[in-house]
Every structure is written in C-alpha cells, then in structure tokens.
C-alpha cells in the first residue's frame, strides 16, 4: 500500500485516539469541574463526620458550591476538623450552619450549608461555628431504644 495512504490512516487513528482521551476527560470525567475559577477555604469542627470523605461535595440548597479538601483529627478539641474549598462565586453569611447529610438512604455523605442572616460574610480561612454532626445509625437506634425504655 502507498506510503501516503498509510500515513493518512495512522494519523487519523492517532487523532481519534487522543480525541477519545479528551472526550473521556471532558465528557465522562470531571476535568471540567477542576479548578473552575477561584475558591476560598473554610473550616469547620464536627463532632462526628460519619463516612464523609475527601472530595465529597459541599452543597447549599442542593447546588454543589465546593468540595471537601481535607479531614483531620483535631487534638485540641478532640473532634474532626474539615477543610473545604468553596467556589469564590458563592459567599455565605457568618452564621451559616454546616451539617453532614446523606444523599438518599444509602447515598454518599456531603456537607450541606444553610445560610443564616448575618450581614458579614465568611472569608478565606474562616471557621464555621455552627455545625451538625453526621447521623450515625447506631446512635439513633440506641437513642430510640432508650426513649422507648424510658416511656414504659
């Protein structure tokens, strides 16, 4: 077969292969949602984070506004220190409430932000003071049984 025809097909093949990788990155993967614009970090102490993981979404009113970037155990307060990167488009009042929620009955856990009414906004590095721990099934069952026993 002629050299030019082979070159043409191989070129087409390589372009298609690289195009496939791009499609995988952009359409299938989350390359588009990487570093979209600026972000600022907020932290919050949670008594119990349940099954929260790094990269879990931070949502407000169901809209993804950021991601969890770091989870550490805090030796000062003996609870979990969660760091999250919030998209710079979204500003939240100082008295925003952060709680760890579960999407669906068995879904992944995420942080839900419910904005308060404060005039001042949270800025880079601020700490969210009002937090609500993850719902742990065992504790709930335990409390339920305890309440039942108290009633009788």
């Amino acid at each position: 077969m002629q050299r030019t025809i082979i070159d043409f097909w191989v070129g087409l093949f390589v372009i298609a292969g690289i195009g496939a990788l791009l499609i995988l990155g952009l359409k299938v993967g989350n390359l588009t949602s990487y570093n979209t614009g600026e972000s600022y970090t907020l932290t919050g102490n949670f008594e119990n984070i349940g099954g929260l993981k790094i990269k879990a979404p931070v949502k407000s009113a169901g809209v993804v506004v950021g991601r969890v970037t770091d989870i550490q155990f805090s030796l000062e307060t003996y609870d979990a220190l969660v760091t999250m990167a919030i998209n710079a488009h979204y500003r939240f009042p100082k008295d925003t409430f952060a709680s760890i929620l579960t999407s669906g009955l068995l879904g992944e856990q995420y942080i839900g932000l419910s904005p308060g009414g404060d005039e001042e906004m949270l800025a880079e590095g601020d700490k969210i003071m009002k937090t609500n721990s993850a719902m742990v099934l065992e504790e709930m069952i335990g409390r339920f049984l305890f309440d039942k026993a108290a009633e009788d």
């Binding site: 097909w9 191989v10 359409k27 790094i54 979404p57």
Partner: protein, 265 residues
C-alpha cells in the same frame, strides 16, 4: 519401579528448567529489543507502517466490541439498579467499569488475539522462510529492523485503542439507557461526571493499558522470534501468544488494580 519414579521426577525437573530458560531468554530478548530501538525512532516511518497494521486494522473489532459491551452494561446495569430506584446511576456504572477495567482489559485481550497473533505469525514465518537470516547476512539487524518497530507500534496503539473502546462503550451505554430505555439524560451524564475522577480513574486506566501494550507486544514478538522454524512451530507459537497474553493481562490487571484502587482515598 524406582526407575519409573526417577524418570517422572526427571520429566518434571526438565519442564521447570526449560520454562525458566525460556523466561530468561524472553527477558534477554526484551532488553535487546529496548537496546536496539534507536532505529525505530530514527526511521519512524517503519513504526508508522506497523501502527497501520497493528492499530488501524484492529479498529473495527475494538469499536464494535466496545459498543456492544457498553450496551450490555447499560442494559444489565439498568436491570439491577432500577430495583433500588437508582437507575440514574447507570451512567456511573457504565463509565467506571469501562474506564477502570473493561476498557483496558477487553481492548488488550482483543488486541492480543487480533494483532498479537498476527505479529507472532509474521515474525515466525519470516524466521521459518529464513528471511531473518537473510537480513542478518546483509548486515541488517533483524531485531532492529523487524522486531523493534512492531513492538513500539503495539505500545503506542494500545492506549489509543483502549480509550476508543471506553468512549464507544460509554456511547453504547448512553444509547441503551437514555435513548432506548429513557433514563433521564441530565442525571445520566451528571452522575457519571460526579463519580469519574480524571486523575484517579482515567489516568490509571491509561497507565493500565500502557502496561498491557508492553506486555502483549513483548510476548508476541518474543514468541514469533523464538518459534521453531516449521509450520507447526509457527502455529504453536501463535496459540501460545494468545494464551500467554490473556493470562498475563488478567494477572497483571489484578496486580495493577490492587496498587491503584485501594478502596480509600
């Protein structure tokens, strides 16, 4: 009686020593191919010619298989997930299983049977018809001129074929789940994009397929070069290429997976 026992023990020992010798020859041959690869990069047209035979001609089988694998995944995934009311997760299921596992592995298996066997048969026949000896007589190194370009063509083609397989598979899943069954299109794509991480899933899949490309073509060129120069020998070598490649791919896949995906991040 003891003589029979001794001969059977000897037979076992003979086999073990033989296979170790073969493994050593394969390793030395692999190093030789890498050492003599400079020609393939100085005369890259040799590699391009082989990419045509190894990669472009494998496209049809890769694309069609990818499409059907994706469609089956979409169908089976929907069938199971709808029992739990989470049929929108079918996009995640299709994309993750293709990008992480099925894309690289299936593409490599198909590549081994389509292109690997062809490489072995070609090199084996060249050896049987003494073309390789003739080249050596003319001071043309057969490893540099024949083996290395085929090796690099396979290594270059494999990740591209695997990526194309995955893309066609995702399209097949989309076709079945969204177009035929009627899963919501927005949640299909968004749940997929939420779950598939570029660095963690896609790059690891590409790394896997690079490993498979090296393994399959190394086995194929070695089997061809090492084949006994008879018709029977070439046919046996071709069979061994497919069998050894398949086993190597699946075994290596487990090892790579256990290094890449440890369940926690």
């Amino acid at each position: 009686m003891p003589k029979r026992i001794i001969t059977s023990i000897q037979a076992i020992g003979h086999r073990v020593i033989d296979s170790i010798w073969r493994l050593g020859r394969a390793a030395r041959f692999f190093a030789l191919v890498l050492l003599k690869s400079t020609t393939s990069f100085l005369r890259f047209s040799l590699v391009i010619r082989e990419i045509y035979f190894v990669g472009v001609l494998s496209l049809i089988i890769i694309l069609v298989s990818g499409l059907f694998v994706g469609m089956v995944l979409g169908l089976q995934g929907y069938e199971t997930l709808q029992k739990y009311g989470s049929e929108s997760a079918v996009g995640t299921l299709v994309a993750l299983s293709l990008v992480r596992e099925l894309g690289p592995v299936m593409a490599a298996l198909l590549f081994a049977s389509r292109a690997g066997s062809a490489i072995t048969a070609e090199i084996g026949l060249m050896k049987a018809t003494e073309q390789l000896s003739a080249m050596a007589m003319m001071a043309v190194d057969p490893v540099a001129r024949v083996v290395a370009p085929r090796f690099w063509a396979g290594v270059i083609s494999m990740p591209l074929l695997a990526a194309l397989f995955s893309v066609l598979g995702v399209f097949g899943g989309y076709l079945v789940a969204v177009v035929f069954i009627g899963v919501d299109e927005g949640s299909f794509w968004s749940s997929m994009q939420n779950a598939v991480d570029f660095r963690y899933d896609i790059v690891n899949g590409v790394i896997k397929s690079c490993f498979f490309g090296v393994t399959v073509t190394a086995i194929a060129v070695f089997e061809g070069f090492d084949a006994p120069p008879t018709a029977e020998g070439v046919s046996g070598a071709t069979t061994r290429t497919v069998v050894t490649s398949a086993l190597a791919i699946l075994g290596l896949d487990f090892v790579l997976t256990s290094f890449m995906f440890r369940g926690v991040d």
